[in-house]
């Protein structure tokens, strides 16, 4: 029987290297895809991927599985670091994110669940207009704010805000339905 994320975290706290390897095998592909999409640079993506899992190894005792989802937490840290690198900000240590709680509306602990979720996310994105989708992608994958998106696309700020707000509402409805 597959060990749960919580059980593996507990083993990592006891310095069980095989537990970290099991979590890596479970989530490295998801994080690698996210990092490559943001950075479009294999070497930089792999460095951050390694750092994120090493941070998990060092700080596993401070992660409380009861307070949120491990893959969600890993993805938030990976995205944060990748965006920092992309925008030439000082890379965040990420440790402050130990306090970050991420409640994912699905169990992502097995490949089938991830596959099903992929279908739902794709469906939700396809439901958006091309302008909405492009704006959401600029925000999520490039880390741009409302005004930066407006500046990049040449659209008025108000239009961008309305576009993103309605896209977020639509995603929320579709992902929770």
């Amino acid at each position: 029987m597959r060990a749960s994320d919580a059980a593996l975290i507990q083993k990592i706290v006891q310095r069980d290297e095989s537990a970290l390897a099991a979590l890596y095998d479970r989530y490295a592909s998801l994080l690698s895809s996210l990092l490559n999409r943001i950075l479009r640079d294999t070497q930089a993506s792999e460095e951050i991927l390694q750092d994120v899992f090493y941070q998990l190894w060092r700080n596993a005792a401070q992660f409380d599985p009861a307070r949120g989802s491990l893959p969600g937490w890993l993805a938030v840290i990976a995205r944060n670091r990748a965006i920092s690198r992309l925008r030439r900000h000082n890379p965040s240590e990420g440790d402050e994110l130990l306090e970050t709680t991420v409640i994912v509306p699905a169990n992502l602990e097995n490949a089938l669940a991830q596959q099903q979720l992929l279908g739902r996310v794709k469906g939700a994105l396809e439901n958006l207009s091309s302008e909405q989708r492009a704006a959401i992608e600029l925000a999520y994958f490039e880390g741009l704010t409302h005004s930066e998106i407006a500046s990049k696309t040449g659209d008025p700020l108000g239009t961008v805000k309305t576009r993103i707000r309605s896209a977020v509402e639509s995603l929320k409805r579709k992902l929770l339905s």
Binding site: S29, S33, R37, T101, T145
Partner: protein, 262 residues
């Protein structure tokens, strides 16, 4: 801000990272003081995080896992050494208590010093390698930025607007091309590609077959993207085709955008 955000989607916008100024500060000042809003924000973060699943699948190389496990093993080794130091002393017998009292601490100290130096050395080597890689990357980006600035300032740079072909996804793509420099920069946007398809940019030379200038993934905004043409190649046109995911060595799919070099 003392009250709850008035619109529930504010939390999703914050998690997405688009809020700025007062809107962002309002959430950041309120959430730490309100358990209910902290929970709402955690749920919003979870929903926004699902967007990670829309990224095209890229498997990491096996080397990353190996490096990670080596790094972890090395750190565990250091912890093991510290643990060993705490073990009760068991020396005795032939050497006697006095010898043991001298040799064991010296041996432990030497072992710790060795492990410490090895760990420091490994860490410094990694850091050096990373700094070198960063430097190389920055040099590359600087060169690219210089080339781009030269291209944009040059009087003989031409702007080629690529026209959308009938029935194809919409887009607004422009290529600025300097034949003398053999450099072109492409930017704009294009509608998302159908599933399992990628857009691919081509240089159509005066003579010979089209040359791939890169795969543009699945559409959306295109960051300014510089390409160097092979030496001696003059472009007749630039084109974008729809190809199987990851691109093809030669165009096989329908032409989405095309623009002749005037």
């Amino acid at each position: 801000m003392s009250g709850h955000p008035t619109r529930p989607e504010e939390f999703d916008l914050y998690a997405l990272g688009v809020l700025e100024g007062q809107e962002k500060a309002a959430i950041e000042s309120h959430v730490p003081t309100c358990a209910q809003c902290a929970n709402t924000l955690a749920e919003a973060r979870g929903r926004i995080t699902l967007l990670a699943f829309s990224a095209p699948r890229v498997e990491p190389s096996a080397a990353v896992r190996e490096r990670l496990m080596r790094q972890v093993h090395a750190s565990a080794g250091s912890a093991g050494a510290r643990h060993a130091m705490d073990e009760p002393e068991r020396a005795g017998g032939f050497f006697g208590r006095w010898w043991a009292a001298i040799l064991v601490p010296v041996g432990v100290a030497l072992a710790i010093a060795t492990i410490f130096l090895w760990t420091v050395n490994a860490r410094l080597s990694r850091e050096l390698a990373r700094q070198r890689a960063n430097l190389e990357e920055q040099k590359k980006q600087l060169d690219e930025a210089r080339h781009m600035a030269d291209l944009l300032e040059a009087k003989d740079t031409v702007s080629v607007a690529l026209a959308v072909q009938p029935g194809m996804p919409k887009g607004d793509v422009r290529v600025r091309y300097n034949a003398k420099m053999g450099v072109a920069v492409c930017d704009g946007w294009v509608e998302p590609a159908p599933a399992n398809k990628s857009y691919q940019l081509w240089v159509v030379p005066m003579e010979g077959k089209p040359i791939s200038a890169g795969v543009m993934d699945h559409g959306g905004p295109i960051n300014p993207w510089m390409m160097k043409l092979p030496q001696g190649t003059a472009a007749k046109a630039f084109a974008v085709t729809l190809e199987p995911e990851g691109g093809m060595p030669q165009p096989t799919g329908p032409m989405v955008l095309v623009g002749p070099v005037s």
